[in-house]
């Protein structure tokens, strides 16, 4: 190979390699993700709402229910995910058990108080493999005498390995810690040592299925994905603190929100994962409105979870949430409410008014549908949550339900942090 020795040659060579690098970086940046997503594979999956109630008689208002969780690996390499259930099931302070029922009953005397408890498990997924489990049952490696009704993990080295020898060995998906249960699931792509990895290869869905002898009702939503920032764009250290979004350190855009290094010329972006959205947008029926097709009253439940989560110290984070509500006359009303760890509400309960006086009520708004913009109030205190994720469910009186993912808008300069327990499992 000819070697350039002259100064001009060195300059030309440097310029040439520089242009190649810039080209490569530009191409890479075109594939960089800016935001969380529910329609693309990602490195963190958030299932904002899981609900289980197989108790007899059921405590939950709409009868027996379980949640089917489906996850698949979209790449042709095996992947491991570390998952965390967040148990937000409320309990009576008098020790009489959970109080998911409506209206809440904690007799003889007691209050119904939400609790937040994390429990985790690891599951290995082979190339392109889809897996599924019931939240009430979890899943283990399939055995010969298993109940065929309960999903299990089919590939094992000693039984049936995959075509390339890959298997689900070492996986044991725990069931949710109690029944009835309500809470969240977060799953994070990790390597075999439970170190987070920058692989956007996970996609997932949850189906909430209610079944009685005389009825069935199914609703489904996509898991919300938080993509890792890939390759040249990230300051990736693989430690137990996952940094979701943030601002530029130094450079021309210092202090401004960033999702990758290109947003910070002359500086660095601290983010390892994409930023959570600044605003969530929900289009919805106002509570109590009549569905024009079925002529049944519609109510909407909103579930919100903070992007930040501290699984290491189990300290629930509180976020103040601002709601801006627009009706079809372009009239705007607003309210706010703190959300700690996990919160599910009927939207007409958000402002704690009586049903027909809530700003989320059709009787107050006057129109059938509205648009609500949901914003977590951010500050610099890491003990506070910042951004939020969520899912909405529509219920028709004495009939079916439907879930829908929320829309996202914008990113914010404050990072959100997910703290994992130290030392892996």
């Amino acid at each position: 190979m000819h070697v350039r020795t002259g100064r001009l040659g060195m300059l030309k060579q440097a310029a040439w390699w520089g242009s190649v690098s810039v080209a490569a970086a530009c191409i890479a940046l075109s594939g960089a993700r800016a935001d969380v997503t529910s329609d693309q594979a990602a490195a963190i999956l958030v299932f904002p709402k899981l609900v289980v109630d197989t108790s007899v008689p059921p405590e939950t208002a709409r009868g027996p229910v379980d949640t089917l969780i489906r996850v698949s690996n979209t790449s042709d390499r095996p992947i491991t995910m570390w998952c965390f259930y967040v148990n937000a099931t409320p309990h009576c302070t008098n020790g009489t058990g959970s109080c998911l029922s409506t209206p809440v009953t904690c007799s003889p005397i007691g209050a119904c108080k939400a609790e937040w408890q994390e429990s985790d498990f690891v599951v290995s997924i082979t190339a392109r493999q889809p897996i599924a489990w019931l939240a009430s049952q979890g899943a283990v490696l399939c055995q010969e005498n298993d109940n065929p009704a309960v999903p299990c993990l089919p590939l094992s080295a000693s039984g049936r390995p995959g075509p390339k020898g890959q298997n689900n060995d070492g996986s044991r998906i725990s069931p949710v810690p109690e029944d009835p249960f309500i809470g969240e699931l977060k799953c994070i792509a990790v390597d075999q040592n439970n170190v987070p990895v920058e692989r956007n290869d996970l996609k997932g869905e949850a189906e909430i299925i209610r079944s009685t002898a005389t009825s069935i009702d199914v609703e489904g939503y996509n898991a919300v994905g938080v993509p890792a920032i890939l390759g040249l764009n990230a300051i990736w250290n693989g430690d137990n603190t996952l940094v979701l979004g943030g601002s530029c350190n130094g450079g021309a855009n210092s202090g401004l929100p960033c999702s990758n290094a290109s947003s910070c010329p002359g500086g660095t972006c601290a983010a390892e994962y994409s930023s959570c959205p600044n605003i969530l947008i929900l289009d919805h029926f106002f509570d109590g409105a009549l569905d024009p097709i079925s002529q049944r009253q519609v109510t909407t439940d909103l579930t919100l979870v903070p992007c930040s989560e501290d699984f290491a110290t189990q300290v629930p984070l509180t976020t103040t949430v601002q709601f801006l509500v627009f009706n079809e006359f372009e009239q705007r009303l607003s309210t706010s409410r703190p959300v700690t760890c996990f919160q599910e509400f009927h939207i007409s309960d958000i402002d704690k008014a009586s049903k027909d006086r809530s700003i989320f009520s059709a009787a107050v708004q006057g129109t059938l549908t509205g648009q609500t913009r949901i914003r977590g109030v951010a500050d610099q205190d890491q003990a506070h949550g910042h951004a939020l994720l969520g899912v909405a469910e529509e219920f028709r009186a004495d009939a079916g339900s439907a879930a829908v993912n929320l829309h996202f808008q914008g990113i914010r300069p404050q990072s959100d942090f997910i703290h994992l327990p130290a030392g892996g499992l």
């Binding site: 693309q40 309960v150 829309h407």
Partner: protein, 381 residues
């Protein structure tokens, strides 16, 4: 000073390796179901008062909102894809009509609006608002324009495109939308409209009637991409066809089976010449044993098929596991890209008269298509 030929080749080889290594990182699909966009695609819109085409009566509610603080104008197109003879099932001898009907609406700052496709929406300032004692206020609010009712039966798609006050395409990315499919008994499924983001750049637009989704410069797209590209691969996680519902079994509520309807629409559309786009879709199915199967089908203008009707390979008896991941791509880059939505039907009880519930799920996208897909709008007045 000139390098030797071998040096140049080696240097370019290393350089290309770097570029390829970097580009091997997969680009995301650029259409979105969660961000405000300039084009909204509602792939599955149905109205069938008797169930002659859909098997059971169903109607659809469309919701669209303006997420900006300025007024937005929207040009919408229904594509009716019921068969030429709506009383018979679709097939080779009974092809889809692919008939387009369009209308315009406008939305004020942050305004949400809705309509039921069977009735449309009229401009009527006397519509009564909801009160504590009156809940059926479907017409209340600023009427967004005259929205025609669809024919009965109707099965097809709705595309809405953000335009300016003159009707020229505008890339403000101000629209979001949802679809709710509802039966008269109140069973409902809901999905987010698929959004195609407009690219706001100095070069990337000529505001003509040919909208260019992705790709580079070409005779049809002299300015290159004006909107984001459709995904190269569309991914669906699903039940194997006719698999049992594990929750129904767990709760011991009798027999059950799950069917999945997959609705696909080409990204290309020629509303000016009414030429339906056609795409051959390749399916790669991976079951829980990581075994790979494949099949294909052709979509002309719009397709709504159960997985079992596409090919027997989707059936649980053939697939061997209850769940699968299916990756869909266009057979060649020259064909149209496509987007879609899935709807699951969970049946419980005896096969002759089951209880049914439906749930819709947006599909995932991966990668971007290398070639442009174009939407040709009718000439403005």
């Amino acid at each position: 000073m000139k390098g030797s030929a071998s040096g140049v080749i080696a240097r370019w080889g290393v350089a290309m390796s770097i570029v390829l290594a970097v580009t091997a990182v997969r680009a995301p699909g650029d259409v979105t179901t969660e961000r405000s966009s300039s084009i909204l695609i509602f792939p599955k819109v149905q109205f069938d008062s008797t169930g002659v085409q859909t098997g059971a009566p169903v109607d659809t509610i469309i919701q669209i909102s303006n997420t900006s603080n300025s007024m937005v104008f929207v040009h919408c197109f229904y594509v009716n894809a019921v068969p030429e003879d709506p009383s018979l099932p679709p097939g080779i001898l009974n092809p889809p009509q692919c008939q387009e009907i369009d209308f315009s609406i406008w939305l004020t700052k942050q305004q949400p609006t809705h309509w039921v496709v069977s009735s449309g929406r009229r401009l009527d300032q006397t519509d009564k608002s909801c009160t504590k004692d009156f809940r059926g206020c479907s017409g209340a609010g600023f009427d967004p324009g005259l929205i025609p009712p669809v024919s009965d039966p109707f099965a097809g798609e709705l595309k809405c495109i953000e335009v300016d006050s003159s009707g020229a395409p505008s890339k403000g990315n101000h629209l979001k939308g949802e679809v709710t499919l509802v039966t008269p008994a109140g069973d409902a499924s809901k999905y987010n409209a698929i959004g195609v983001l407009g690219i706001n750049s100095d070069q990337g637009s000529n505001n003509d009637n040919t909208l260019c989704l992705g790709g580079g410069r070409s005779s049809q797209c002299p300015s290159g991409a004006e909107y984001n590209a459709c995904p190269e691969t569309v991914i669906l996680n699903h039940f194997a066809e006719n698999a049992t519902d594990p929750v129904v079994e767990e709760l011991d509520n009798g027999q059950s089976r799950v069917a999945t309807q997959l609705t696909l629409v080409p990204c290309r559309e020629d509303f000016e010449n009414q030429i339906p786009a056609k795409v051959t879709v390749q399916f790669q199915i991976t079951n829980e044993f990581e075994e790979l199967f494949s099949t294909s089908t052709t979509v002309t203008c719009w397709s709504n098929l159960t997985l079992g009707a596409i090919a027997r390979v989707f059936d649980v008896g053939f697939l061997g596991t209850r769940f699968a991941q299916t990756r869909m791509t266009a057979a060649t880059d020259d064909e149209s890209g496509f987007v879609g939505v899935a709807e699951e039907f969970h049946r419980q009880g005896p096969a002759a008269a089951p209880l049914v519930s439906r749930a819709a799920l947006n599909l995932h996208g991966e990668g971007v298509r290398p070639n442009s897909d174009t939407i040709v709008l009718p000439e403005a007045p």
